[in-house]
């Protein structure tokens, strides 16, 4: 829904801190009347099919704005506070376009969010009409950054990077554990995402010594996975690689658990469920041991733990949407800080030349080439002991991979 939230004013301590710093820099002007706030558009689907993801994204963005304002706002703009203008994309690109028009009329300095690829595609294009900076939070389709739109930036990795990393990491994981897996069954939803991924696996895995026993497609939605599970039981693969959405994967994992089908590993890519705490909480036995290659926050950064604590306090299940939106908002705030202006050209230029490192993703320094953050990468996760742990790459890991997995 459409709402404007003016975030809480700066706390006294933060104010004292900033004014002390400002005084040290010889800028007593900070004590005069507060600078006009900078409006930031946050676009998320909070009604419709994607509402669950949209709420998480909104929480991440809201928390980041609160923190920035508490720390003194945008200092180069005289300590201007960030004012969130929230827009509901209603889970479809048409509503998203409509909301971009509204954000434009409200005079936002930039827009963050979108979540689903179609929403990001349509909304960033609508923003491009006004030369309004648009930072994509999740949308993985590579079409987002290959259109030559100078206003669009994607902080997270796209599908090409994710699939390549997923295959590389699988090989590394298998090799470092004494090559326990040799035979594979691919299960995929028959849309573009699942089918495209399966095709890539079919060409890449045999080159690296894997044998693909069978590729099993299924439609989305599917309400029964018994046939797929029975087929897996008959084939007895070492590894099952599913690429499906939340509902279908949960169904498959549960059916496999009920029928005691235990491959050495379940390795999924950008899976809707394997990195979702709802799945882990509701079906811990089916979830344990499942691996996924997906977006995830860097578990070693202290800010990650703080944000997660806040999410827990708000009763939200931790998922990648929260840290991604949190980081994207901070990325924009950093660009505003360096631009020292709300001028659209300057904000876009500042984003394009960003080397922002104050995020909580496992990415390193930000560097945009044609709108894509070059440092962005997914990580490998595994459900272990009712928690989701990062197992790969080792530099970011907070647990060791358990592969082959024994319950």
């Amino acid at each position: 829904m459409t709402s404007r939230i003016m975030l809480p004013a700066m706390s006294r301590r933060a104010l004292l801190g900033t004014s002390a710093a400002a005084a040290a820099l010889g800028m007593p002007a900070i004590l005069r009347a507060q600078a006009a706030p900078v409006k930031l558009g946050i676009l998320q689907p909070i009604t419709g099919a994607l509402a669950q993801d949209g709420e998480l994204g909104r929480f991440g963005a809201t928390t980041a704005i609160e923190e920035i304002n508490a720390a003194g706002g945008i200092k180069s703009l005289g300590g201007a506070k960030i004012e969130m203008v929230f827009a509901d994309a209603r889970s479809n690109p048409e509503a998203a376009t409509q909301e971009v028009e509204r954000l434009q009329s409200e005079g936002v300095a930039a827009i963050v969010g979108g979540f689903a690829s179609p929403i990001c595609l349509a909304a960033s294009q609508a923003a491009a009409r006004y030369n309004l900076a648009y930072v994509v939070d999740v949308g993985v389709t590579d079409a987002i950054i290959t259109r030559g739109l100078t206003n669009t930036f994607r902080f997270a990795p796209g599908l090409a990077i994710v699939t390549k990393t997923a295959i590389d990491n699988l090989l590394a994981l298998n090799d470092s554990n004494g090559k326990p897996a040799r035979t594979v069954v691919l299960v995929h939803e028959d849309g573009l995402f699942g089918a495209g991924l399966a095709k890539l696996m079919q060409t890449e895995l045999p080159k690296n010594g894997f044998e693909i026993l069978e590729t099993i497609p299924h439609p989305t939605p599917s309400r029964d996975m018994s046939n797929v599970a029975l087929r897996i039981r008959a084939l007895k693969p070492d590894l099952v690689i599913p690429s499906s959405y939340y509902g279908e994967f949960v169904l498959l994992a549960r059916t496999m658990q009920q029928q005691r089908i235990r491959p050495k590993g379940i390795y999924s890519v950008l899976n809707g469920a394997a990195s979702n705490f709802r799945f882990v909480k509701e079906f811990p036995e089916a979830a344990n041991g499942v691996m996924d290659c997906n977006h995830w926050a860097d578990p070693r950064k202290p800010a990650t733990a703080e944000l997660r604590k806040k999410a827990d306090a708000a009763g939200l299940a931790w998922a990648y949407n929260i840290p991604l939106n949190y980081s994207c908002v901070k990325l924009v705030a950093d660009a505003l800080e360096r631009a020292g202006s709300k001028d659209r050209e300057k904000v876009i230029a500042a984003l394009a030349s960003s080397n922002f490192a104050g995020h909580i993703m496992p990415y390193g320094e930000t560097r945009f080439v044609n709108g894509q953050n070059q440092g962005a990468q997914p990580v490998n996760l595994q459900v272990q002991g009712n928690d989701i742990k990062v197992i790969f790459p080792v530099a970011f890991a907070d647990a060791k991979p358990r592969f082959p997995f024994k319950a």
Partner: protein, 319 residues
């Protein structure tokens, strides 16, 4: 002669609407264009479903074909948008004719006809989602090239004017149909097929003409949608939303009336936006309003807003 009064009223309303884009913000214009796209699709639906009595649940098949054909010709063959628009409309009409030829020859009527049209739209949605040619699940995206030569005006007001002109054109066309021989035959088919056949009306030919025309108009809405939003996927093009909105706008406005679909679409979307503005904190409140409005329309004004208006006027004249 009440029909004429309604029409005059509506043309005045459209003329007033035509002033809006010149003064209103992009936000208002955007709302107007979206509502008018639905109005156009609903006008198409109304010719077959309202005047002809063949209730379709699958007008998405025509809307999507219009949108997909115009985008595909531009993306795959590099055609100019203006040249692709008539082809998109023709393609939609062709799909309408083809579905009609199969379904009407098989003598499917009533709920059978409704279900078959729904099935056709769903098959097309699944195909558009699965084929690489149609962009699969990631859909089709037209390149942003603001300018009149690419049918992408820099000013949103121009889009609104074109939409208003299209709606007005179809309005006059529909009025012409209701007064023509073809319109009379169509109504005869709606009221009683056996009686119409006995009077010498070629049932299949009449229905085929109606579905072809109906499909062409709804396809025009699809073409316009594609040019305005520049992005379609299988869910937008062939999804059930447009079938439902076309039907809903017609029912709420007044099934089978000339002005019904336009009034219905504007009322539906206007109320949706209004409730969203008033009760902004409750998510999905506009959808709740849609539902309540439909229940109210069916319970209290089965002949829609236009019907209720006529009844009100009639009772005043008598008094």
């Amino acid at each position: 002669m009440k029909g004429r009064d309604d029409l005059r009223l509506l043309l005045v309303l459209l003329a007033v609407l035509a002033v809006v884009p010149a003064v209103a913000s992009n936000l208002v214009i955007n709302f107007l264009v979206t509502a008018l796209i639905v109005a156009l699709a609903a006008q198409g639906w109304n010719i077959l479903g309202g005047i002809g009595g063949q209730i379709s649940f699958g007008h998405a098949a025509f809307f999507g074909t219009g949108a997909y054909v115009t985008e595909l010709l531009q993306l795959r063959l590099g055609w100019n948008a203006w040249a692709t628009a008539p082809i998109g409309i023709l393609a939609g009409a062709l799909v309408g004719w083809a579905i009609g030829a199969m379904v009407f020859r098989a003598r499917l009527r009533g709920s059978y006809f409704a279900l078959v049209t729904l099935a056709f739209a769903e098959v097309m949605r699944i195909l558009a989602n699965a084929l690489d040619f149609t962009g699969g699940a990631s859909g089709l995206l037209l390149k942003l090239q603001p300018g009149a030569e690419a049918f992408q005006f820099t000013s949103r007001a121009v889009f609104a004017w074109i939409a208003i002109a299209l709606v007005a054109l179809v309005l006059l066309g529909t009025r012409h149909i209701t007064r023509s021989r073809f319109g009379a035959q169509l109504v005869a088919v709606r009221e009683n097929e056996d009686a119409a056949r006995a009077l010498g009306v070629d049932i299949v030919a009449t229905k085929l003409r109606a579905i072809t025309l109906s499909a062409a108009i709804t396809a025009a809405a699809g073409v316009f949608y594609a040019q305005y939003f520049l992005y379609i996927d299988s869910q937008i093009g062939y999804g059930t939303w447009i079938s439902v909105e076309a039907l809903l706008a017609s029912i709420i406005g007044g099934v089978g009336t000339v002005a019904g679909p336009v009034i219905g679409a504007l009322a539906l979307h206007g109320l949706g936006e209004l409730t969203k503005g008033l009760a902004g904190q409750i998510t999905g409140i506009d959808l709740v309003t849609f539902g309540l409005l439909l229940v109210a329309a069916i319970a209290f004004a089965p002949s829609g807003i236009v019907g209720a208006w006529r009844r009100y006027r009639g009772s005043r004249h008598r008094a």
